[in-house]
């Protein structure tokens, strides 16, 4: 009972953690509990399960403040690592899960048809990502990523009567299978050459045999697999289509949580088994970063649909994150974490506004947002905050995210990449501001103002996200120090 209290309330216990005290175990438990509740409920009423799911996410997020920090342990014989990096990413996943479920509740009218599993699947996905953030061997990593991907397939295709949702689901399924094939092939080769699947043992054996061309190939194949999950160019082709076709909350979930999971898996690989092969990895990462920056930012310029723009935007942000990772220093890792936090908040905000407005505007085309500032000025301003943060306009958190990454890359002497990233960041202003222009300066096509409003709870979610976006940018130093203390156990 004492440990239950430790998990649920804000107490830091000195006693060692147990496996049944791990957050993911609780998250899966909540998921199964909600499935049982759905089965036992008296009548088909989506509200109860959705509310229970949102409430449980909020409870778990508060409980996450009580997690023991400054403690590095492993569970399951090294398959699960508990440390600051894992805690940071698990909190990001919880934020994403909470916001996504909230948006799903908003979207319920569009095609759920009483299938309440829509609100339950995020639990399993979040638990899978939690395991990814703590991964200590390739088998656990592979199974967790598969669990995450299977949840995503189902959520993407959830509006099964909608042609675009089904198409996105099929496309994501095929691409997901392809990327899994790359990942497994790479893991197999590494297992064959390194003789182990555990990250620490593999790091030792790869350190001695890193001249082997087979090792390089295994590493490259694994990085390609991760690149698909990260939506980094040239493995990004699915992202705009899937983000466009999927239910809007699910697009948000893919853009934020799924990408963060890929980032943490990549970080785990780079500080674990791939550490002896850093120079080779760095080249691959730099190539992926450059391609993503160019393709993401230039590809978004010609898009006319906000969700497709966000798809390309997510590719370009993958580029920025990869650029930060490829700098390879300790400050670079901090700046990547900060960037990811800023990106998470702003992206959730933008998708939240799209999700709230899509049934009122009738779609996510840019011109359908025309004149939003006259009819719903508050919502338009929230969207503007999100867009400006993603574009990297100074007082907002997105600017400092980019700034920190540029600084750490500059310190490593990769000046060309900084110029490339700066150029593409300027180019990105055009498409982010295009949406703002449509909202503020264009007349609505049919002269019809968007009248009906959003519920108080949903406004609260959007405002909290916007305030967080601004606040993280107002005190960037403090936030970075907090992340530093968390990750490096001070």
């Amino acid at each position: 009972m004492n440990t239950v209290a430790t998990t649920l309330f804000l107490q830091k216990s000195q006693e060692p953690m147990q496996w049944w005290n791990l957050p993911e175990v609780w998250w899966i438990f909540v998921g199964i509990l909600l499935l049982l509740l759905e089965m036992l409920r008296p009548r088909r009423n989506s509200a109860s399960i959705a509310k229970a799911s949102i409430f449980a996410f909020a409870v778990m997020l508060i409980a996450s403040l009580g997690w023991p920090t400054g403690l590095e342990t492993t569970f399951f014989g090294g398959a699960y690592q508990w440390d600051g990096l894992a805690i940071f990413f698990k909190r990001i996943f919880l934020i994403a899960g909470l916001a996504t479920t909230w948006m799903m509740r908003k979207c319920e009218a569009q095609g759920i048809q009483g299938r309440d599993e829509f609100y339950i699947l995020p639990w399993f996905a979040v638990a899978a990502m939690g395991f990814v953030s703590s991964v200590g061997d390739f088998v656990t990593g592979f199974v967790s990523i598969e669990l995450l991907t299977v949840c995503s397939y189902i959520m993407v295709a959830f509006y099964r009567s909608d042609r675009f949702s089904l198409e996105a689901g099929a496309k994501y399924l095929v691409i997901g299978a392809l990327s899994t094939a790359f990942l497994v092939f790479g893991i197999t080769i590494l297992f064959g050459t390194g003789g182990s699947l555990r990250f620490d043992q593999l790091a030792n054996s790869l350190a001695s045999g890193h001249q082997d061309p087979a090792v390089t190939m295994g590493v490259v194949l694994v990085l390609v697999g991760v690149g698909f999950k990260l939506a980094a160019a040239p493995f990004h082709w699915w992202a705009p289509d899937v983000y466009h076709g999927a239910p809007t909350p699910v697009s948000a979930f893919l853009a934020v949580a799924s990408k963060a999971a890929a980032v943490v898996f990549l970080l785990r690989l780079l500080i674990g088994p791939f550490a002896p092969l850093w120079t080779q990895c760095q080249q691959v990462l730099l190539a992926l970063a450059g391609a993503s920056l160019l393709v993401g930012n230039l590809g978004a310029l010609s898009q006319r649909d906000v969700k497709r723009v966000m798809g390309y935007s997510s590719v370009s942000h993958a580029g920025f994150i990869l650029l930060g990772i490829s700098a390879g220093s300790q400050p670079a890792m901090l700046s990547v974490c900060y960037y990811l936090l800023a990106y998470t908040l702003a992206t959730l905000l933008v998708f939240g506004v799209i999700c709230g407005m899509i049934d009122k505007t009738g779609g996510s085309l840019m011109r359908q947002f025309n004149g939003l500032a006259q009819s719903r000025p508050g919502v338009a301003w929230l969207m503007t905050i999100g867009m400006l943060s993603l574009a990297g306009i100074p007082p907002l958190s997105g600017f400092f995210g980019k700034w920190f990454i540029f600084a750490s890359v500059w310190q490593e002497g990769m000046y060309v990449m900084v110029f490339l990233a700066g150029f593409t960041a300027v180019a990105s202003l055009f498409y982010y501001l295009a949406i703002v222009r449509h909202m503020f300066f264009e007349k609505p096509a049919d002269g019809r103002a968007i009248s009906s409003g959003l519920s108080f709870g949903y406004q609260l979610l959007l405002v909290v996200l916007a305030v967080a976006t601004v606040a993280v940018g107002l005190v960037p130093g403090a936030v970075q120090r907090a992340i530093y203390a968390l990750i490096f156990n001070l």
């Binding site: 899966i28 199964i32 499935l35 009548r43 088909r44 009423n45 989506s46 569970f75 399951f76 014989g77 398959a79 699960y80 048809q113 009483g114 299938r115 599993e117 699947l121 399993f124 638990a127 899978a128 395991f131 061997d137 088998v139 656990t140 592979f142 199974v143 967790s144 598969e146 669990l147 299977v150 949840c151 397939y153 189902i154 295709a157 959830f158 099964r160 689901g169 080769i189 297992f191 064959g192 050459t193 003789g195 182990s196 061309p213 087979a214 390089t216 190939m217």
Partner: protein
């Protein structure tokens, strides 16, 4: 002599494997594609058995060639798929596919150093089922348990995406 026999067995299985994989992709009728896939599975099982992984080999044949492929054939039968509708001969696609496969093979040849011998990781001796079980419940306990969750989610997903909600229930829920 023994090594000659084992390499002969390997090459027979490997050739069959490649040939039937190609047939799986190139076959016109879905049934012949599925049957080629069965043959592919059986050859993979054979190769596993020559590697002394008897249990895995048998599982490969029983689960994939036996259970999964029967399911495939049932589905093909239920969907009443006939010959694939006339397929345009897309030479560019075919050529690029062949080029891609050739490139991958070339990388494999160089990367893995085909032809040069490479020490395999140590294979545990003795009863492999017992070792497998022990590994699953010690070193790989976490992924093994996670597989259960994965299967649960997959079952939920299949029901969600395929089960037709009855009209009356839908009307009740929609209200």
């Amino acid at each position: 002599m023994e090594s000659f026999v084992s390499s002969l067995v390997f090459w027979v299985f490997a050739t069959g494997l490649v040939a039937f994989s190609v047939l799986t992709v190139a076959g016109r009728s879905p049934v012949s594609s599925a049957m080629s896939l069965v043959a592919t599975m059986i050859f993979v099982g054979g190769i596993l058995i020559t590697l002394q992984a008897y249990f895995l080999g048998m599982m490969q044949v029983m689960v994939y060639a036996g259970a999964v492929m029967v399911l495939f054939l049932f589905i093909i039968m239920l969907l009443n798929l006939d010959q694939e509708s006339v397929r345009k001969k897309a030479w560019v696609k075919a050529l690029s596919g062949v080029a891609l496969c050739g490139g991958l093979f070339w990388i494999l040849l160089g990367g893995l150093g085909l032809g040069q011998s490479r020490p395999l990781p140590p294979v545990p001796q003795g009863s492999d089922i017992r070792d497998l079980g022990r590994l699953l419940f010690t070193e790989y306990l976490l992924p093994f348990e996670l597989t259960a969750v994965l299967l649960l989610v997959a079952i939920v997903g299949v029901i969600l995406l395929c089960h037709q909600v009855r009209d009356r229930a839908a009307k009740k829920g929609g209200a």
